[in-house]
Assembly symmetry: C2
Homo-oligomer: 545 residues x 2
């Protein structure tokens, strides 16, 4: 490593660059920004979640001086417990961010070991050679920050997830003045959120939600059930404000919902009179038109409250005709089918369902094209490195950079693990280190790979067929065949097929040479394919008795 070179390495994210972690390195010292997790794609079978491959960080664990978390979302905090197993460094975050991290680490029995440091947006932190100027940004969770990272090699602005909401619900706008201040100092590079780089215009303010809620409350005759992300504190505040106006009591339902509300209320990020909240049991006794339930499960996840209400498997209460259900959310990519099915099932049960397509009950937390351009004008970076997005979004972000006057050579689109180097004010691309992701399944980290997943895929496609052959030890004759199948076909349909297969194996066994196991396997596979056009995974076990 050249000691006067600043190195920046985006890590993590499935196809998204720098989504979950970014490494800053100068003079053999390391600063880590964010440590998040992601949920698996639909084709990552049986995987619980995914964390960045931070092998590089592990190898240089002694050089890590600090970890700064920009905001409290899972994709920025969810890998902290894994990271802290390898790295002993303080974790910095604003009060809400640290509050949420504490709760999360607490659930994993991890909190006492962690060195968590609460900071305020605007604080300047000296972390090794990095002078980190934190500044407030608006996002779909309060108390988010971006970072101006000052190093001897230059000043780098790292936006974190942000939008330029001009009328935020908490009246706390993005710190535009600080961005201008950075520009005056001279910004070497901007690493900026590209999530909505394909979206024209300006992301609507979170304020547009409350009139939509108002209309829902005006028209609803029965209970109102609002499902949203448990981290969308300002959305909850708006639901609460509306409930006050329409004289409804509120029950919070779902573990993450109740916990987040408790933390946010304690820390002052959400405000309501104590007597507004009632336990669920009380709410269920009140007249329907006096009740608002705030629940988890805006993505239709089958284990969430809304998912269970949709499937009719919720324990403490059911949907009933007259209920109004509001999905105050947007399906995360890959989840569209599940959310749509949940809407249909709620409608089947007689609920009125209000969702994005019908009313403005959700807005994005990320900056759209005009905001991205304004960010570039405010910060005036020498180099732009679009992050937080798939390649398609990064390319669009780059196009926006060119639209506002940047040159192609000033923009770097990189993949995770690519080292971006800055020396003497010039950017160059360095080596590529492992920068992919690691599957977490159960308690295992990294012990499931693509080959295991291909096996899972194969098992699932047409199921399995187990053949247990028992041969007579003396005569060598076939004494018994047991055929067990799972996921192949219904047992009523398979009976005849398996009887026929048994007979065929019986014949084969009479003339078998030493390769009985292989021959039976081959016969079974080709016979089953011939008859069903399916290719179950076949296992043959031969024992002698």
């Amino acid at each position: 490593m050249k000691s006067k070179t600043l190195r920046i390495i985006p890590l993590g994210g499935i196809g998204e660059v720098g989504k979950n972690m970014t490494v800053y390195e100068y003079n053999d010292e390391i600063l880590i920004v964010d440590a998040g997790m992601m949920f698996p794609d639909n084709d990552m079978i049986g995987i619980d979640y995914i964390i960045p491959d931070f092998e590089y960080v592990k190898q240089h664990a002694d050089k890590v001086r600090g970890i700064v978390i920009t905001h409290g979302h899972e994709d920025h905090t969810g890998a902290i417990s894994h990271l802290l197993e390898a790295v002993h460094a303080p974790v910095y975050g604003t009060p809400l961010t640290i509050g949420l991290i504490k709760a999360k680490l607490g659930r994993r029995g991890f909190v006492q070991d962690a060195n968590l440091k609460t900071i305020q947006a605007g604080d300047v932190l000296q972390i090794g050679p990095f002078k980190v100027h934190t500044f407030h940004v608006c996002h779909s969770i309060p108390d988010g920050i971006g970072l101006g990272i000052e190093t001897p090699a230059g000043l780098v602005v790292h936006t974190g997830d942000y939008k330029l909401d001009l009328t935020p619900v908490d009246n706390w706008p993005t710190d535009y003045a600080k961005l201008g201040e950075f520009a005056q100092k001279g910004v070497l590079a901007l690493l900026a959120d590209s999530t909505n780089a394909e979206r024209p215009g300006w992301t609507p303010s979170e304020q547009v939600i409350e009139p939509a809620f108002d209309k829902v409350f005006q028209q609803a005759k029965g209970r109102i059930i609002i499902a949203t992300f448990a981290s969308l504190i300002s959305r909850m505040q708006q639901a609460i404000n509306t409930a006050v106006r329409y004289h409804r009591k509120i029950a919070f339902v779902g573990l993450s919902m109740t916990e987040n509300v408790r933390i946010a209320k304690e820390l002052g990020y959400i405000n309501f009179d104590d007597d507004l909240e009632v336990p669920l049991e009380t709410a269920l006794q009140l007249p329907d038109e006096k009740v608002l339930l705030l629940v988890t499960g805006s993505q239709g996840e089958p284990t969430s409250i809304l998912g269970r209400l949709a499937n009719g498997s919720n324990k403490r209460f059911d949907i009933k005709p007259g209920d109004t259900v509001v999905l105050s959310s947007h399906p995360i990519p890959g989840n569209e089918e599940v959310v749509s099915r949940a809407i249909n099932r709620l409608l089947e049960q007689g609920a009125d369902v209000v969702y994005e397509a019908l009313a403005p009950v959700h807005v994005s937390g990320h900056a759209s094209q005009e905001e991205l351009k304004l960010m570039l004008h405010l910060v005036r970076p020498r180099y732009l490195i679009p992050i937080h997005g798939e390649l398609r979004m990064l390319k669009q972000h780059a196009r926006l950079g060119i639209e506002v006057g940047m040159d192609e050579r000033q923009i770097a689109i990189v993949e995770n693990g690519r080292v971006i180097e800055f020396a003497h004010g010039e950017m160059s691309l360095g080596e590529r280190i492992p920068g992919g992701y690691v599957f977490v399944d159960g308690s295992g980290v990294g012990d499931v790979d693509r080959s295991v997943m291909r096996e899972r895929e194969m098992l699932s496609q047409d199921g399995i067929v187990l053949l247990n052959l028992v041969m007579d030890q003396r005569s060598g004759d076939l004494k018994d065949i047991e055929i067990i199948s799972r996921g192949f076909m219904t047992s009523t349909e398979s009976e005849e097929l398996f009887n026929d297969l048994q007979a065929r194996i019986g014949k084969l066994a009479k003339h078998a040479n030493g390769r009985l196991q292989q021959d039976v396997s081959k016969l079974a596979k080709s016979y089953l394919y011939e008859e069903t056009k399916r290719r179950p995974v076949v296992f043959v076990n031969v024992s002698r008795n």
Copy 2:
């Protein structure tokens, strides 16, 4: 069955009502409209496709007088071969529809048995007691028809899939006059397409595509590759027109693409000079800026040409920097993730990729809200039965009916298999017959059900572990244990775990009573869960030797 009652039964579709088939029944005679298939949802593991459950039709096969197919899309034609195995009745369709059906049945070796009757839009067919007035509708495939079905019980209008494109590419607008004529006669019921009932406004005309193509051709410096649905004949015509203007030769790539173009050209639905088309081999020899490739795979399907180009597994040519790829399509629900990944992979290979978010290179083939309302005004039905849509869309369609002045009692939202009865001009809901769907997997129809699929799901979640125990016949001691796993974890990681498990089983076997198999299974499951927090499917086979 009351003989003077008209019965209408929507069938098929996964959560979509009447998507694939509708049964009309009067005086013990049956008319079937459409016989389509659907592709499985993401959670329908290993299923090839889905067809309507037409058990009712099979039971009344002798009463079926005819099958009318409204247009040539798979979701309206794909189950014909299955239907014709049970029902011997003529199949009516317009020239393009019949041409496509012939090709499809031909591939299944079925065509000679089928009684296919080519009709022209506007023809009136007497099918048993049903006088069927066919009329042209615009859709994303040419030569689509809707039906005015006259019965002694009244006139029912069945729109089929449609949009009210006022400037269709083939200059053949929807037959508005016929709709007005129906209204004058008096329409008892309207069964209408609800696909876009959630979409405000008016679906843009297919004509908007050509300027977008023009811009792409103007800017592209290398090859242009347009991926679209093989059935989108008018889209291909526009690509061809643009290629002519920019002096590019065209190669059609992909089985369904070449076949559909051949059929459409023979029948006059697509027009171009023969010397415009070149074989792929020739196209690959031409200068890049002289080439347009029209390929299949607009949904990113891994087996399609575009899917293979994205994955780098196409045989005859690869993507190269300078290529411009146009995705002239919209992801079908559940497919968003796959399409997005294909875009990223094409970009990685250096292609410029143009898709819906960046330019108007696709429009829908279905009517939006204003069109649905206009349809209601044109037809003035006594009753509205929204079909072709999930419950959420049907509900919106019903709301639009109310907006244009209908009463709630005039609108029936039904599920598949619900019999809708009309007698003396009044609608009522009758019995419910089996109206779900049937899974087709390999050559099996209906031999995979939800329980088999749950087994597949279980196999895929954490894989399988097979334990083959060999016991000494005389001493009863454990002689050998073989452990085989698939989809559980990588073999390097599992070695130690399995060694330990073997030792534990060895200990258990020493004190085993008669329930060795169950005890080993229980031990293995709990040990593996304890160590990995995974629950593989465990099979234990005990043999004595």
